[in-house]
Symmetry: C2
Subunit: 293 residues, 2 copies
């Protein structure tokens, strides 16, 4: 069994990005600049955004954090988006989700200029990805594709079972794995809450991507000998033996499953660290006008 070390890989990629930023600036180019909009006091969102800003510093990006109270109106937020769309110094920006309930997330997502949509959530980028045009890929699927690539895991012709059909993980990773590309060319089985024989399907999988949000859902009897497992889950469960009384686990029972796998991502330290790296890569692409010219 080989561990897919997202923590290590994300550091490596960040080093490459930092080197490219040095080159860009040495060549008289514009420093990449990411903006993040954070609304309200959601603790998880605050951590995510803080980490994104930190990562920008690390690779030499400029970053701007726009923090607003949860009472902001939808119109005010849309104005912020509009201003960021029009600010020539901003290469890309994200609006951290979730938003307060009185704000329509879809409306906000649609208001972002696709050219600056480094989260890859705008339908224009989703559609470009779906039909195989260059696009900003959503962070988690992009991170997974990087892992498969850097660990030379060949998925072509393999059966890939994806558990979960969310717009930000399950559906896009199923599209990326099945398209004519490298990595890609897999035979993808997309499973979800309505799938009837999920255990049988998992047992067939050469590659299993799990993004359900169900702690320890995948057990040893669901995994084929030699399978590749990508665990997107990140769940905090009670554990009286842990110092804080809780611990982080994935959607896969790592301890029970690891020995059967050829490759597996740990939680934490697997897919998680790759997501911010993906955001940085998208921002660099925006700076270099790689997607939209």
């Amino acid at each position: 069994m080989e561990l897919i070390d997202g923590k290590w890989l994300s550091k490596e990629i960040k080093k490459e990005i930092a080197a490219q930023v040095d080159q860009i600036i040495a060549g008289g180019g514009k420093q990449p600049h990411l903006a993040a909009v954070l609304i309200g006091e959601d603790p998880a969102s605050q951590v995510y955004v803080r980490n994104k800003v930190k990562a920008c510093d690390l690779v030499g990006f400029k970053s701007t954090l726009i923090k607003k109270d949860a009472s902001i109106s939808e119109a005010e937020l849309l104005q912020i988006v509009e201003d960021l769309n029009n600010d020539p110094d901003i290469d890309g920006f994200i609006v951290q989700l979730p938003l307060p309930k009185h704000i329509d997330e879809i409306k906000v997502t649609l208001a972002i200029d696709p050219k600056k949509d480094v989260d890859g959530f705008h339908p224009m980028n989703v559609g470009r990805m779906t039909i195989g045009l260059p696009a900003y890929l959503p962070a988690t699927p992009f991170g997974i594709m990087q892992m498969l690539d850097k660990y030379h895991i060949n998925v072509a012709g393999k059966e890939c079972v994806v558990l979960g059909r969310s717009n930000i993980v399950g559906t896009p990773i199923s599209l990326l794995l099945s398209r004519k590309a490298n990595p890609g060319n897999a035979t993808v089985i997309l499973c979800h809450s309505m799938t009837q024989n999920i255990k049988d399907l998992c047992r067939r999988a050469d590659v299993l991507v799990v993004a359900m949000g169900k702690p320890l859902f995948v057990t040893a009897d669901m995994v084929k000998e030699g399978a590749v497992i990508i665990d997107v889950g990140m769940n905090r469960i009670d554990d009286p033996s842990a110092p804080k009384g809780t611990r982080l686990v994935g959607d896969v029972d790592f301890d029970a499953v690891a020995d059967k796998c050829s490759f597996i991502t740990p939680v934490p330290g697997g897919v998680g660290p790759m997501t911010i790296t993906s955001l940085l890569m998208n921002t660099l692409k925006a700076n270099q006008k790689e997607i939209y010219g």
Copy 2:
């Protein structure tokens, strides 16, 4: 075995559309207006476009055919697209593919205003479909969803095997079948030229959608008793016993397979007739501003 009669169903839907057009006009509304751009002399394209114009007449739509020589420049075609985008009387339009080789099809597709993209090929509509927002659906997948709906074929929780991953059929139908909707909620397995065990996968299918362009590819030994078969293929093969020496067949060996199925689409007279109906439905949605408001 029950035949899914696309010829009959498309007539029924056209009657419904015609009735809605009467209502719209009686209410003082604007007559739906579809434009088609046809470049060059490709015989198949000429037939398709002629049939689309005929279908418009039948349901009471206004139609405009713009026919240009294959020597047209890309810039001239882009100007035609721009003019159609800006013409307030045109609700929707299509540029018939394929285009001559000196014209970039993607550039032309991207130039179409998504609000008028009744073929559903623009990334904006593809992306909206992918994330479950209202969108113009591409004609063939939309037609298949209509068939499943009108024949009350429940695919929820069923294993649906899709053969072929094209941007206009395989990939979008796999997305539509797997999304949280009715029809939908299927467990979708998307297969393609790199899939290794395609016969085994077909044998597992509760629903089999075949869009490969390989005449008579699906044989009786590949079909489970009671399966639903949707045959998107349309191939002309030699047949010395036929009056013209050729006949039209699908990607499925209908005669060998039909008895094993619960439902099956014939070729011709199955999926084919539904595609123009889908285009009419999209044009009506455009006229009624159902997708983009």
